[in-house]
Amino acid sequence: MKNISTFFISFLIIGFSFISLSYRTADKEIKSVLKSSNVIEISAEVQSILDSKCIACHSTESDSQKSKMKLNFDKFTNGKYSNGKIVSKLGKIKKQVEKGKMPTEKYLKKNPDKKLTVDESKLLIKWSTEQRAILAGE
């Protein structure tokens, strides 16, 4: 009997630590380092969307390894992403936003104010499409 309750309690503890870990990114305020560079143009409007809705997870300072490995906005302008890489990331941003997959549902549950408005989504799609075309020389 004692064994079962020990097992149950450890199960709960492990479960809760997983849940709290997954929400860690939610609490952190990250200052933007985004700016236009000679490679990519980021208008003030786009920058404010990226700052308020994206970089909490997708920047070097983020706690979420997975998010920043997939996309790190700092690397757009600090030379860490090659032009080819930026083209790929812009294409992926476009697709994710078009499908309404970002920010993730899980993240929005905790941060409902981070949801992209219709106008914001449109602007991000337009921006990623245009910048990608310029970089790809098309």
């Binding site: 080819g84 890489k85 992926k92």
Partner: protein, 150 residues
């Protein structure tokens, strides 16, 4: 009693063999293949062939147990899915922008060790990639991504 269960298992095994499922076709000649169209270094093409091509090309080498259900259901699904996501045999037909994204996907799949799938190297020892192997493929993909936009 034990014998009875054994017979039942055997009967089920025989019966499920008749469940139809078509085998993903093997095509040996692929004029649009990555390796024939892009200058891929020999060590990289060897790694790609031994660790990726069974699911990510038309040149699948099926093992002898590939025609046995239920294993084949699982295997055929993986191959179909793999080819749909990325088929090196059709590389040259893919447009430049999509190629870039695929190269980027290859890099993340290798970095995050999502690929090759865990079970695959168990039966294909040559598909077991060391960290050095992974890095070599990643470096090649990074370089090729740049080449696409030169």
């Amino acid at each position: 009693m034990k014998k009875w269960i054994l017979y039942l298992l055997l009967a089920t095994f025989i019966l499920i063999q008749f469940y139809p499922m078509s085998k993903p076709a093997v095509i040996k000649s692929n004029p649009s293949d990555l390796i024939g169209n892009v200058n891929v270094p020999d060590n990289i093409s060897l790694l790609l062939r031994s660790a990726c091509y069974d699911c990510h090309s038309n040149e699948t080498n099926y093992p002898w147990y590939a025609s046995l259900a239920p294993l084949k259901w699982w295997m055929y699904n993986h191959i179909n899915e793999g080819r749909e996501e990325l088929n090196f045999s059709e590389w040259d037909t893919i447009n430049k922008l999509d190629k870039t994204e695929l190269l980027d996907d290859i890099i993340s799949a290798l970095e995050e060790k999502e690929m090759p799938l865990k079970a695959y190297p168990l039966t294909h020892p040559k598909a077991k990639l060391s960290d050095v192997d992974r890095q070599e493929i990643i470096d090649w993909a990074e370089i090729h991504m740049e080449e696409l936009f030169e």
